[in-house]
């Protein structure tokens, strides 16, 4: 369910997500090559094979349906976020070409939703949680489980949002439905990922990805970066929703009793792009800006975490 098939996305959404996914993939390839050097090809190749082998096993979800592991958080914890993203991208390409699980026209969207949110955002959540809670096997396992759960739900939200943007169903309905389905699927993903990370930390902690020692910079910069990062994420999300369906936020606001506040959203940075840029072009611009903001926000938050750790280690 997590994979969007062919036939659901509009041309504008398909093209924009493909371009965005292509850009992230090129960047991830450069980062992985730099991190892993000439070990990159065999390491990522075998990780890809392992994900295929793991996905061949179905586990029961609920009501007689079964699903297979997505694995984004698991590979990111093992091989690092960028390598994990590339592994998931390779897996999604094979699924689209050979198993018709996810469409070719939706490949960009699926890569962003499953590889991007799974490996990059999921890993960010995992790192933030382990930074807070500590690094014992049990804590790492729980952090990975929580990260996998949240990332799966976010995958659903993103898919629902892309479907709504494509005009398949009203955006509130599609986001709600997809988030609901993934809130159930995420339980299994979280449990499997969590237990596997717990087992790995106990047996072979040396195999887990060790982020490089962060550059020194001081706590203040970390706080500023974290603030800016979260702001970019929030503004990105809001303006995306606002631009995609200019009146849906307003309606939500009325429903929630914030009718007055709703008028304020008119001023959201990209709130009205789709009204003054007609049709697909407006959607595309809104998408690109929203995605750029989201990734910039995520990058800033990563950096902030690294800086904060560096500052802590310097003191300790």
């Amino acid at each position: 369910m997590a994979h969007i098939p062919d036939g659901f996305l509009s041309a504008a959404v398909s093209a924009t997500t493909l371009v965005a996914a292509g850009a992230v993939t090129a960047y991830a390839a450069r980062r992985s090559q730099k991190n892993l050097d000439e070990r990159a090809a065999p390491t990522l190749g075998l990780a890809t094979a392992a994900v295929f082998a793991a996905q061949a096993v179905n586990f029961p979800v609920a009501a007689g349906t079964s699903g297979h592991l997505l694995g984004g958080v698991l590979v990111a914890v093992l091989f690092g976020p960028w390598a994990g993203y590339l592994v998931m991208t390779a897996v999604l390409i094979v699924q689209a070409l050979i198993f018709a699980d996810g469409g070719l026209t939706a490949l960009g969207a699926n890569v962003l939703n499953i590889a991007g949110i799974g490996a990059l955002v999921g890993y960010g959540i995992y790192r933030a949680l382990t930074a807070l809670a500590g690094e014992g096997a049990r804590r790492r396992g729980l952090a990975a489980a929580a990260a996998a759960y949240v990332a799966t739900v976010l995958t659903g939200v993103a898919a629902g949002w892309e479907l709504g943007l494509s005009g398949v169903a009203p955006i509130r309905l599609s986001v709600g439905a997809m988030a609901g389905v993934h809130a159930v699927m995420g339980l299994a993903e979280g449990a499997i990922t969590g237990t596997a990370v717990w087992a790995l930390t106990r047996k072979r902690p040396d195999l887990l990805y060790q982020p490089r020692a962060p550059a020194t910079g001081g706590l203040n910069r970390a706080v500023v970066l974290a603030g800016l990062g979260s702001l970019a994420i929030v503004v990105g999300l809001l303006s995306l929703v606002a631009s995609a369906a200019p009146d849906s936020l307003e309606r939500a606001a009325i429903d929630l009793g914030f009718a007055d506040a709703a008028t304020a959203w008119e001023g959201a940075p990209f709130g009205n792009y789709s009204t003054w840029l007609p049709g697909p072009a407006g959607t595309a611009v809104a998408l690109v800006l929203g995605i750029a903001l989201l990734f910039a926000g995520a990058a800033a938050t990563f950096r902030a975490i690294a800086l904060a750790r560096g500052a802590r280690e310097e003191r300790g």
Partner: protein, 256 residues
């Protein structure tokens, strides 16, 4: 999911395989999937045209229609289930009532369109995949704008999924034979341990393969042989253009 269906019809000579290289065929499949998958709503004429073209393609590739139907049926749940929710979620006048269920008219139309588009796209890709060897398909991916690391991951992933699956199966079998009537929680933990073990094995093998690659002069890039030549460039370009034209026609049809 298994990889057993790969390569089944790969060695049958056919009109399509004689005139196109695997790389050219891959582009044709992509063009067809995009034309079908991205057809705007309301372009029924263009969809019918695509279906006719695809039927010709099945004949030209000599793929048994039954085998193709089975492959499409396997993929059906992936798009049928989400499409089935549309008659209830898309607002519009009720067109059909069965008991307590009210199907919206626009929802039914949209669901039908999506199912047709998805079926056509999946069939187009399946036809090309089933007449192309997996190894040739991997080589054909060199023609796509993919980073080198993704291509090498696909090649190694294809080669080692068999090796790792065999090892994984042995581990889970050994675990099962030891578990007996263990509680659900313990079974779950054993399964996760097997999964962790799979990645430990993959890591060790990756290191050994790295040595084997280095000792054959590998530095930082994964060299590949020149893919098969031949085929007819003109035919492939013409077919890709035909799909593009049908899609454009569909866009105009939808606007009209």
């Amino acid at each position: 999911m298994g990889f057993a269906h790969l390569d089944r019809y790969a060695d049958r000579p056919s009109w399509l395989t004689r005139r196109t290289t695997p790389a050219q065929r891959l582009w044709i499949a992509i063009a067809a999937a995009f034309a079908a998958g991205l057809m705007p709503p309301g372009a029924w004429g263009a969809l019918v045209l695509l279906a006719v073209l695809l039927a010709l393609g099945v004949r030209a590739a000599r793929v048994p229609p039954g085998a193709l139907a089975r492959r499409v049926a396997q993929a059906l749940p992936f798009f049928l289930l989400p499409a089935l929710t549309l008659p209830f979620t898309v607002p519009g006048p009720t067109a059909l009532e069965i008991g307590p269920l009210a199907f919206s008219g626009p929802g039914l139309v949209r669901a039908a369109e999506i199912v047709v588009r998805a079926t056509l796209a999946v069939s187009a890709v399946s036809v090309v995949i089933s007449v192309t060897r997996a190894a040739d398909l991997l080589a054909a991916l060199d023609g796509l704008p993919l980073p080198r690391l993704v291509r090498s991951s696909l090649a190694l992933g294809y080669r080692y999924v068999y090796v790792l699956s065999d090892e994984f199966e042995r581990t889970t079998r050994a675990l099962k034979s030891r578990m007996g009537h263990a509680s659900r929680g313990r079974v779950w933990r054993a399964r996760a341990a097997a999964l962790a073990h799979l990645f430990v094995r993959a890591h060790a093998r990756g290191a050994r393969i790295h040595s084997a690659m280095l000792s054959r002069g590998y530095r930082d890039h994964f060299p590949t042989l020149q893919p098969a030549r031949g085929g007819s460039r003109a035919w492939s370009v013409a077919i890709v253009c035909l799909f593009a034209a049908i899609w454009l026609g569909g866009v105009f049809e939808a606007m009209a």
